[in-house]
């Protein structure tokens, strides 16, 4: 098991060296966001979501995906990304992301697509200006591809911040 993981790590390492890696791109609001392919387990049609009490509004609830019960997040709400008019499509798909100790779903409207990105197109050292309240370190970098600008994020960093926040909250209550 761990051997396989190491193998994956080394291949990604060599890939970065040779200059390409894969990202999964999905639309959030009018922007394009992307995750590294390693963080994604599968894409499923959004199942019925059960709302949870005591959660921030962008946690839509929990859903049953293949017998696993996982939390479903709406990043558009989390990042405060308004949709422009005309795009009335529902959140039809759920991107299941997984790390060693975390598994959750992210709502997306269209089937996400995979892109091979050259390292030269990936800019990690972007100085992104944040307001004080939103911590921006979940942004890994910006990809320029054709004329598109894609924001690559580390989904688990987003959640780490959220969990710290909820810790504080429960501390108060």
């Amino acid at each position: 098991m761990s051997a396989i993981k190491e193998a994956i790590n080394t291949t990604t390492a060599t890939n970065t060296r040779t200059g390409t890696f894969q990202i999964i791109v999905f639309k959030q609001g009018d922007e394009e966001y992307a995750l590294h392919i390693d963080q994604i387990k599968e894409v499923v049609i959004t199942p019925a979501i059960t709302r949870m009490p005591q959660t921030p509004s962008y946690i839509k609830g929990v859903a049953n995906i293949r017998g696993n019960i996982i939390a479903i997040l709406d990043l558009e709400e989390k990042f405060n990304l308004k949709r422009s008019q005309g795009s009335n499509t529902e959140n039809n798909y759920t991107l299941v992301v997984e790390s060693d100790d975390l598994k959750m779903g992210i709502l997306v409207r269209e089937v996400p697509n995979t892109l091979n990105i050259g390292a030269s197109d990936f800019d990690e050292s972007v100085g992104i200006i944040n307001d004080v309240n939103s911590d921006g370190n979940y942004i890994k970098g910006i990809v320029k591809y054709d004329k598109r600008l894609i924001i690559v994020i580390d989904i688990f960093k987003v959640i780490d911040q959220e969990m710290l926040g909820s810790l504080k909250k429960t501390g108060v209550a």
């Binding site: 098991m1 761990s2 051997a3 199942p47 019925a48 059960t50 709302r51 949870m52 009490p53 005591q54 959660t55 946690i59 609830g61 929990v62 859903a63 049953n64 017998g67 696993n68 019960i69 996982i70 939390a71 100790d101 975390l102 598994k103 959750m104 959640i159 959220e162 969990m163 909820s166 810790l167 429960t170 209550a173």
Partner: protein, 591 residues
């Protein structure tokens, strides 16, 4: 390859821990009765096995220490060492270090063992010197060691054969025997139970989808499926049951240590050790039991002098008993000590500001005794090493809450105290009441529900900031569950937040109310719709929503949808905190 090694390690660990426990048990036995030949033989054999296993796995430090212990027990067996209290405390210390070394296999950490090893070696050396002196004076005599009941080879054989047979001394069984038992890691059992859970859910789903179709045939077909799957479920649950004796036997050592620190003489008596309980329940409560046992020794049992003055036998007794009670297992910790001092509890609670003087006088003994579970409460004026740090009892209570258990205190002054824990015999299946609220399905464990009533809005009255209804002559606080959820979500302190839904509904509306009870707190929750009673398999919440206090877990319904299981203790605590918060707010305003 790596997996294989990990598996061997797991097996080694399981065996080593078992050995370690057996050593402890036998040692305490031996300490009571120094002449117990069987115990010494068993100790020798076990340390020998442990040594062999450890060196086979390459854990040289465990092997070395076990080797020294083995030698020592060998000398004891041959009667070269007269066992004194001092020697026992050294051996116990050695065994403790051995335990740490075994733990270190699981989680690597540095354990110093050379010191204790040398100390043990010195003991052996002394014994050897004495023996040499003895043989020198009687040279014609055969070496004393030859008189031992076993030759070393025979012992080797015994150590290999099954552990049950080997305890009969004298007869060396050279045949290899296979045990009828299989050791299975709990992880695999958990997985099995999860799969069975999913099977049941899947069965329910199919049954639900077939309900509308060809009824007569399908019910027959599915009856068998239902029966087999529920048989399977109970069989798997049965596999997870272990005898409480596994845990109880560890307490000989706990009591011995606690008693020797407190300089008290305490005997531990076990009852009902063959009672069966889910292994996970046992694991969860083991720390709590240690605490309660220590408390019984530290607080309950008096010093030998006090006991004799009170006309009791010098040795205090602590009973640890277990018995089955329909769906639950009752574990009792009973001591014949001095009992709870209610006056002291009362004055302490007032001093700590836990309750007011007027309130204190209204409480009966049962209610007073529950005060010891409040955080930060401890009646001992002096803090001792093993008890009386003021932490623990509230933790015990919380632990029990988390698995749906309860605790009761019965105490008679001068006669002793009994702590009664009621535990679910299995953590996997819960009987629940399903209900609907704002289009979502929730479950309330039946262990908390007292009754289900149906009232008109006009039956419910405003009282202060809350609502009250009378049912069968009892006044019940009524809360709209949706108000609680709404309140916690925006956490804005709206005035009369708990009356919000009440104000907005029609006076003729019929309301479904589930009355829940926990810790003598009774609340009626108004829900949208009552659905059915159902046995569910509760799964824990996963990150990042694992900190939600109102929900203890989830289950999957026949429809494939997720159903949330309400955490009644936390919900009630939240509601009662709200009302006490309101009170303090008002006080500030008045000032």
């Amino acid at each position: 390859m790596k997996n294989k090694e990990a598996e061997y390690r797991e097996i080694f660990l399981a065996e080593a821990l078992e050995n370690f426990e057996a050593i402890n048990r036998l040692l305490t036995q031996l300490e009571k009765n120094g002449q117990d030949k069987n115990a010494i033989n068993a100790l020798f054999r076990i340390t020998h096995t442990l040594k062999g296993n450890a060196s086979g796995m390459g854990y040289s430090n465990i092997a070395e220490l076990a080797h020294v212990l083995e030698d020592l027990f060998g000398e004891m067996r041959d009667g070269h060492i007269t066992v004194t209290e001092e020697i026992f405390s050294t051996i116990f210390k050695g065994v403790d270090v051995l335990g740490h070394l075994i733990d270190a296999v699981k989680e690597p950490k540095e354990v110093k063992f050379k010191g204790i090893k040398t100390k043990l070696e010195v003991l052996i050396k002394k014994a050897k010197e004495e023996r040499e002196n003895a043989t020198q004076t009687q040279t014609e005599n055969v070496g004393v060691s030859d008189l031992s009941p076993f030759s070393p080879d025979q012992v080797n054989d015994l150590a290999i054969s099954s552990s049950d047979g080997a305890e009969i001394p004298g007869e060396a069984d050279t045949k290899l025997s296979f045990s009828d038992l299989v050791q299975v890691p709990v992880r695999k059992l958990d997985n099995l139970l999860n799969l069975v859970g999913e099977l049941i859910i899947e069965k329910d789903r199919i049954l639900a989808s077939q309900a509308g179709l060809d009824m007569r045939r399908s019910t027959n077909e599915f009856a068998r499926l239902s029966r087999i799957s529920s048989d399977l479920q109970y069989s798997v649950m049965d596999v997870r049951l272990v005898q409480v004796g596994f845990l109880f036997n560890k307490f000989h050592r706990v009591v011995r240590d606690a008693a020797s620190v407190e300089k008290k003489d305490v005997i531990l008596k076990l009852e009902g050790t063959d009672t069966e309980i889910d292994r996970n329940v046992l694991q969860v409560i083991s720390d709590s039991l240690i605490h309660l046992i220590r408390n019984a020794v530290g607080h309950g049992i008096e010093s030998p002098a006090d006991r004799e003055a009170a006309g009791k036998p010098k040795d205090g007794t602590v009973w640890l008993s277990a018995k089955n009670d329909t769906d639950a297992v009752i574990i009792e910790i009973r001591d014949d000590g001095k009992g709870l001092d209610y006056d002291r509890i009362k004055s302490k609670a007032i001093a700590k500001g836990l309750l007011s003087v007027e309130d204190a006088d209204k409480l009966n003994e049962q209610e007073l005794s529950m005060l010891i579970f409040e955080p930060g409460f401890s009646t001992m004026d002096q803090v001792t090493a093993i008890s009386g740090r003021g932490v623990g009892m509230d933790v015990v209570k919380k632990t029990l809450d988390s698995i749906g258990g309860t605790i009761k205190v019965i105490s008679v002054k001068g006669k002793g105290t009994t702590l009664q824990l009621t535990l679910p015999s299995s953590m996997a299946v819960k009987s629940c009441l399903l209900l609907e609220l704002q289009q979502e399905v929730y479950a309330i464990p039946l262990s908390y529900t007292e009754s289900v009533i149906s009232l008109y809005r006009s039956d419910i009255h405003r009282a202060g900031g809350g609502l009250v209804a009378t049912h069968l002559g009892k006044n019940i606080a009524v809360v709209f569950l949706r108000d609680v959820f709404a309140y916690s979500n925006d956490s804005l302190s709206v005035t009369n937040a708990l009356q919000h839904s009440f104000d907005s509904i029609h006076p003729e509306t019929r309301l479904e109310i589930v009355v829940v009870n926990f810790n003598n707190r009774t609340v009626g929750f108004v829900v949208d719709k009552l659905l059915q009673q159902k046995e569910i398999i509760e799964k824990p919440l996963m990150k990042p929503v694992d900190r939600i206090k109102f929900i203890s877990g989830v289950t999957i319904l026949g429809t494939g949808n997720v159903c949330l299981v309400l955490n009644i203790p936390n919900l009630l605590q939240f509601i009662f905190n709200l009302s006490s918060q309101g009170r303090t707010l008002k006080n500030i305003n008045l000032n």
